[in-house]
Symmetry: C2
Subunit: 365 residues, 2 copies
């Protein structure tokens, strides 16, 4: 049963739209007739993330940045492998119980994902939306479950601080100074299993966690060129996607208890709030950013905040889902944000466009 959060008129609007018989809503969104369930989740974090404000919420924290492997890329694959195995263990499922695996990561040609999940032998769709990848994977997984192509799908992603710095910025050995607008790529991997049935492992009194709808992002380019200011590059994409979600469903920001961006950080958050204010949408009471939550800016020297596919992923699977299960929040809009650059596109002087995908998640008793 759907909870009435926000005002009742908003609730009615959504029901009316869903009743029309189309899964598409407005210009860019969809609503699920039978919202898929998030039946299990896993969050595997690195040392710094474990020491941060959300540290207690993660399933496992690895002190060793190499995770026992030979290089950073293999370390990231190992985090992702552990996240996939952990979510299967928590759901008491085997690899053969999973119809598809949908995932990706920041590394060129998605090597963290392909080497991390190969042993599972699950039919795989590799996806890439930079740090919005968890949102993209969850939207597609929910569609494929709702569309009856699979009973259960794993959506997952990962990132690793050292692998990302090596790939996108400067070798760590240079000891380059980081500007205050720079973010700190999260080391970690998060996975969810999205299924067409209720989580049978949930405790008495716990709500079902369902995905009720989604707004898939477009590529948004406001002309930012600074790879040490990802927040500014991604904020316009978050703005466009959040605004479109509110418009498509004809709802106000207080329809949600939280509107949670992936990794805008302090710089991007300010831009997002201002862009929305400029169009008369005030989300300042609802907005939260995973990149801001995951590190302590005062003590952890992380400047603008956390970033990377893993940032939104482990904040969602470790912390946000817990708040939903405890019904501290009943409805959230989860909006992972991605900056679409490569070392090559940056070196060739290209802009850094952004993309953001919004997933509507509810706790239902």
């Amino acid at each position: 049963m759907s909870e009435s959060v926000g005002n009742n008129n908003q609730e009615v609007n959504i029901k009316k739209r869903a009743r029309k018989g189309y899964k598409s809503v407005g210009k860019q969104s969809i609503a699920f007739k039978n919202p898929p369930y998030i039946i299990a989740a896993s969050s595997i974090a690195g040392k710094k993330e474990g020491e941060g404000p959300l540290g207690e919420h993660f399933d496992q924290v690895y002190e060793d940045p190499m995770v026992g492997k030979n290089n950073w890329e293999e370390a990231e694959s190992e985090l992702l492998r552990i996240a996939a195995q952990t979510v299967l263990n928590k759901a008491e499922l085997k690899n053969t119980d999973i119809g598809y695996l949908i995932g990706g990561d920041l590394l060129g040609q998605l090597i963290a994902t392909s080497f991390g999940i190969a042993e599972l032998q699950i039919p795989t769709f590799g996806v890439y939306g930079a740090c919005s990848t968890m949102g993209e994977a969850m939207v597609l997984a929910a569609m494929l479950v709702d569309g009856e192509y699979a009973k259960r799908i794993i959506a997952l992603t990962s990132s690793h601080f050292a692998g990302a710095e090596k790939q996108f910025r400067f070798p760590l050995d240079y000891g380059t100074q980081r500007p205050y607008s720079a973010s700190w790529t999260v080391t970690g991997s998060g996975a969810v299993i999205i299924g067409d049935y209720k989580d049978s492992k949930k405790k008495d009194g716990e709500p079902d966690i369902v995905i009720t709808g989604a707004t898939t992002g477009k590529i948004i380019d406001y002309g930012i060129k600074d790879s040490n200011n990802m927040g500014a590059a991604m904020a316009p994409a978050a703005f466009e996607t959040i605004k479109q979600n509110l418009d498509d469903f004809n709802i106000k920001p207080d329809y949600y208890d939280k509107i949670i961006t992936g990794d805008l950080g302090y710089v991007g958050k300010k831009i997002l709030i201002e862009l929305l204010n400029g169009k008369d949408y005030d989300i300042s009471n609802q907005h939260m950013d995973c990149g801001i939550e995951i590190f302590n800016q005062d003590t952890q020297d992380t400047h603008a905040g956390g970033s990377g596919c893993g940032c939104a992923a482990i904040t969602f699977t470790g912390y946000i889902l817990k708040m939903l299960r405890e019904r501290v929040w009943k409805r959230v809009l989860f909006v992972p944000t991605g900056a679409l650059l490569s070392q090559t596109s940056f070196n060739e002087g290209n802009n850094i466009p952004g993309i953001a995908h919004a997933v509507m998640v509810e706790a239902r008793l």
Copy 2:
């Protein structure tokens, strides 16, 4: 209406499975209850591809490898942009008529795609399956159309010889000798529009082109490490996916008029046929490989054959669809094949696993 190609028992088997009410078939496949239509396609090729055996079939051939741009990456983006615009023009549709764009390319962080399609402002899912990307994009697009999330979706991909060599192998300026097992990355981009209605632009007497089912690939690693022998790296994945498709639907190879792999080339083709023979599946009468068809091995110095996301894409959109529209073939299994490596994974001594996605395409009167 479905045509009866192959023997009638095979036809009955599929119908019975589809009637059960599930979209999943066997272990790893799906069958569409209302097969989505391929309502338009575009094929944009480079000079060498235009000079090859399939040259006459492509919509446009660009003599300039830079396509008027400043570097190879921008050239590839431009090919992809032209492919997307051309498929819209051929279908007489606008960007706002398209629900989603699903695409990707070989370049790190999919920059060819994100810069190529940004101006279209269509909600976008970036996907990566190396040279299997066209298969992955088409499977997802067909699912999302059949699942009623969008009326029309563009699936597209691209590759560029010079950009791929720069990224995966040696700078062209070195003039490195290419072993005979090496393939030649195709310069080109192909796009299809998959929709839930018949192509209104088709000529009298032309059949509908529909996607009836799919088999999504797993990551298959037989331990190949040579990035100059992609055929050997991908053949095991093609083997597993084709075998699974035949098993899941309980059909024999002659159910299809053609079983068409993406870019195994001469080396990979031999391995594929042998692997299947070892399990008592003989596809030698049906098998065709886009990488073998697209270049003339004797005159074009392309060694093992063509490769790259663009190879399967423009062979499908330019040539294979034409053969289906003319009903030279009535049923094909289109199996783009991908080798999952990056410069980093190769330099770190990793294996090159493969993946292959199979799309069942039919011409129906």
